[in-house]
């Protein structure tokens, strides 16, 4: 059995994060000592790694909980997991598009501010950001 400190060290994660996983229903200690300290079984480290890898792929903790539940559902199959992976991929693609659009808007603003020696009052970037219509087209 592993104490929370040992599991945290092995998983390169903080004990607070492990307690948070517990509060989110992702990782429950196998038992507790008479003094109330958490003790984890051998599979806990594997689960910590699973959570970390899933987070690295963009899954939220709630989604990771669903994935873990799927693993314990007899009627579930790999297609159920793949569908969630595809949906996550779609969500990431939307975020990437949105960020590309933000990046292009910033490019336009940066190009508009060719004379960096202007006073802050005349800064076209600040002027564009102040536009009431919320657009990022540079002020003329």
């Amino acid at each position: 059995m592993l104490t929370i400190g040992k599991l945290a060290a092995a998983g390169e994660i903080s004990p607070d994060a492990l307690r948070y996983y517990e509060s989110e229903g992702l990782l429950v200690p196998t038992t507790r000592t008479a003094s109330g300290y958490r003790l984890y079984g051998e599979d806990a480290l594997r689960r910590v790694r699973f959570i970390q890898h899933a987070q690295a792929c963009g899954f939220t903790l709630a989604e990771i909980r669903e994935l873990l539940q799927l693993r314990q559902t007899d009627s579930a199959c790999c297609n159920d997991v793949r569908q969630r992976a595809i949906e996550k991929r779609l969500q990431l693609a939307v975020k990437i598009r949105s960020m590309q659009s933000m990046s292009a808007a910033l490019d336009r603003l940066i190009a508009e501010c060719a004379d960096g020696s202007q006073s802050v009052d005349d800064c076209p970037i600040l002027a564009a950001l102040e536009q009431i219509d919320g657009g990022t087209e540079p002020a003329r």
Binding site: C78, R82, Q83, L90, A93
Partner: protein, 85 residues
């Protein structure tokens, strides 16, 4: 009118629902163009439509149902659109 079912391969819900939806669409309007799109073959198009969950259903290039409708819901939507055309 063009109806597109966007699905993930192996989706059990799609397999059970698509025949009923297709029949409802074809029985509701003559000349409905029914297409089934594997999302893995058309990821960019799915993103363009705004698909975030699967399966989903688009009509004439717009995402109309983020989750599969019942055949009756699809029929109602097709009739509503046909009336507005």
């Amino acid at each position: 009118m063009k109806v597109e079912l966007i699905y993930a391969p192996g989706c059990a819900e799609c397999i059970t629902s698509k025949a009923g939806l297709r029949s409802a669409a074809e029985a509701t309007l003559a000349g409905v163009e029914w297409t089934e799109i594997n999302v893995l073959d058309a990821l960019d198009y799915a993103v363009e439509l705004g698909v975030l969950t699967l399966p989903a259903l688009a009509i004439d290039g717009s995402l109309v149902f983020a989750a599969l409708p019942t055949p009756a819901q699809l029929r109602d939507e097709l009739l509503r659109r046909a009336c507005h055309d």
